[in-house]
């Protein structure tokens, strides 16, 4: 059937999807590129003269830029570390036979259904609030001073909030991977004299490596563009202590109304994300080639 005719037909059939993708993805990208090279400030309607790379220089020289890159990195790595480590632990626990396992599994998945803005507000007002928060109350029970989480350790607090939201995702993927592990393999290892830790290290963890890779790749994509949690809790502050790249772009675009420099920031974010993705694929992508 692979005649010239059928191939032409196949292309024709594919074209609507390809065109739609092109329009949806390429057009915004081209527009962003165009804006990034022109002076486009909403507060100063004076035409859009060509600026060359001035917007890029302006964005890169933003005093919060380097910190936002560092924050983005720390947030992604912190959340990945917590979700993968705790996810493996939780998946192992949930894989054990126990009473009411079905209910517990549903409960574990629940945080994933809470939208980011809501979960961040709940954490901000009910847990991390230095006056009314649960953590402050617990600290006071022991006679300690309450910590103003979002002011004193904003980045750590954000990491915790986001990790809480993503933990179910990691747990779910790792749990399904765990269930596909052949029980005879575990039994063979047991017969071979491997204790529980050795079985985990030599059998379970290698089996999970592919699922862990998937978790890391998918989460990285979403965590790079983290915004809602920052917006409703710290507003990137204090100062720029908890701004990531996405938040810095937002502040250029909708706090300073400078579309040109925000677009330049957007392009920089895309390039940075691609570099990181490439690095990740090199680092962990090998385990996908099984």
């Amino acid at each position: 059937m692979a005649s010239i005719h059928s191939r032409a037909t196949a292309r024709l059939m594919l074209s609507p999807a390809v065109i739609l993708l092109l329009v949806w993805m390429a057009a915004p990208l081209v527009m962003t590129l165009w804006y990034s090279l022109h002076d486009y400030q909403l507060l100063m309607p004076r035409g859009n003269p060509f600026l060359g790379l001035e917007n890029y220089a302006y964005f890169l020289s933003d005093p919060g830029f380097l910190q936002s890159i560092g924050n983005t990195f720390m947030l992604v790595m912190g959340v990945l570390l917590i979700t993968v480590v705790c996810g493996v632990g939780l998946a192992l626990l949930l894989d054990q036979p126990m009473y009411g396992r079905g209910v517990v599994r549903v409960l574990v998945v629940a945080p994933f259904f809470v939208m980011p803005t809501v979960s961040a507000l709940v954490w901000k007002n009910m847990f991390m609030n230095p006056v009314n928060g649960l953590f402050a109350w617990m600290a006071q029970m022991f006679g300690a001073d309450a910590i103003d989480w979002l002011a004193q350790v904003p980045l750590l607090s954000l990491t915790l909030i986001v990790a809480w939201g993503w933990l179910p995702f990691a747990t779910l993927i790792l749990l399904t991977a765990l269930q596909s592990l052949d029980t005879e393999q575990k039994e063979a290892a047991e017969m071979d004299g491997a204790n529980a830790w050795a079985r985990f290290l030599h059998i379970t963890l290698p089996h999970l490596s592919r699922a862990i890779t998937v978790v890391i790749l998918i989460q990285t994509i979403f965590l790079l563009s983290l915004f809602a949690e920052i917006f409703v809790t710290t507003n990137g502050g204090p100062g720029t202590q908890s701004s990531n790249l996405a938040y810095l772009v937002y502040s250029h675009a909708l706090l300073r109304f400078d579309v040109g420099s925000a677009s330049a920031g957007g392009v920089i974010a895309v390039v940075a994300a691609n570099i990181l993705a490439l690095l990740l694929m090199r680092l962990v992508g090998k385990s996908l080639e099984v």
């Binding site: 039994e187 063979a188 290892a189 017969m191 071979d192 004299g193 030599h202 290698p206």
Partner: protein, 340 residues
């Protein structure tokens, strides 16, 4: 060389009793085959011996020592699983070396033993491959290699050949038999295939619903089955089993006659019937004859007879070779089978 003994061993899952109390002695150096239909408890029994399942009550002795509560690794047994259970992310070398690494043996010892095992099993060329790059038979060999290097006191095989194609199965069967002779180790082999059981075993244990139906050498089981179940299970094609009037003539509830002990004739005989199917195997011919009131009688005869479906024939059982069973399915042994 190690003997294994089960004393009144039982296994229950909740209220469900899989093995209701079973005694068995396996002598040192013996190759014992557990055979029975699926769900008869043969795999469970093997897993009880391996320690992968806990014994509900009773005692398990390995070399005279109580091993009922020992963890699997300390029993000194090796097991070959039906799925081979190779570690997919490890090379063949690492797979075979795994039990030695777990036992913290030195690098040089591991190296030597792995190479020895690879030589015995013809795996030298594949040592650096991953299991997924091997054929079924090679994977099977790796699994056996992993079992050998530990120098276990006994080997346990859980339907190791059921994932192989027919030709390879015959080959591997011979290799396992050869391995048994070479190592002289005690082996327990579980299968549902009675041909495998007959060809491999020193002694066969026939299991049915968690109970031992009969223990004996392959020929003992074939020549004098102790129960109706064993009579029907051992032997291919199956023994002809007849009830009713014909059986009562011999003072039994059921009589059995092996297909090779039935004579065919076109002119005279005991029962008259019509051939429904004739299977020409070259060396033998299996003829299925429908006899009115008795059902289908299977006859095994020489390869050169010319019978076709629809032919009308006489069949006659050889009376001295009749097996008689009482109403509980137990064999009646006293006196020669005589028609009253």
């Amino acid at each position: 060389m190690t003997s294994i003994a089960l004393k009144n061993v039982s296994k229950r899952y909740g209220a469900h009793e899989v093995i209701p109390g079973l005694d068995l002695e396996i002598e040192a150096g013996e190759l014992v085959v557990f055979v029975g239909p699926s769900g008869c408890g043969k795999s469970t029994l093997l897993r009880l011996i391996a320690g992968l399942e806990d014994v509900s009550s009773g005692q398990l002795l390995i070399d005279g020592r109580d091993a009922t509560r020992l963890p699997p690794a300390q029993r000194g047994l090796s097991m070959v699983f039906q799925s081979y259970a190779l570690y997919p992310h490890m090379s063949v070398r690492d797979n075979i070396a795994f039990p030695l690494k777990m036992a913290r043996r030195s690098k040089s010892v591991i190296e030597r033993k792995v190479n020895d095992a690879a030589r015995v099993l013809n795996l030298q060329e594949y040592l650096d491959r991953k299991p997924r790059e091997l054929s079924g038979g090679q994977r099977q060999r790796v699994a056996i290699g992993r079992a050998i290097v530990r120098e276990p006191v006994a080997f346990l095989f859980d339907e190791p050949l059921s994932n192989l194609d027919a030709a390879l199965r015959v080959n591997m069967r011979m290799e396992i038999a050869g391995l048994h002779q070479q190592l002289g180790a005690t082996m327990i082999y579980v299968t549902h295939d009675q041909v495998e059981a007959m060809t491999l075993a020193d002694r066969i244990v026939v299991l049915n619903a968690g109970r031992v139906e009969q223990v004996g050498t392959p020929l003992e089981l074939y020549r004098s089955p102790a129960t109706l179940f064993v009579a029907g299970f051992i032997g291919s094609p199956r023994m002809n089993l007849l009830g009713g009037f014909e059986a009562r003539q011999y003072g039994a509830a059921t009589i059995g006659i092996r297909p090779e002990h039935v004579a065919l004739s076109s002119s005279e005989g005991r029962w008259r019937g019509k051939v429904s199917l004739a299977e020409h195997l070259g060396s033998d011919t299996f003829v299925y004859v429908d006899v009115d009131g008795l059902g289908t009688i299977t006859v095994r005869t020489t390869g050169d007879v010319d019978v076709r479906p629809g032919d009308s024939l006489w069949v006659t059982p050889e009376e001295t070779c009749l097996h008689r069973f009482d109403e509980h399915g137990r064999a009646i042994r006293q006196g020669p089978p005589q028609r009253h």
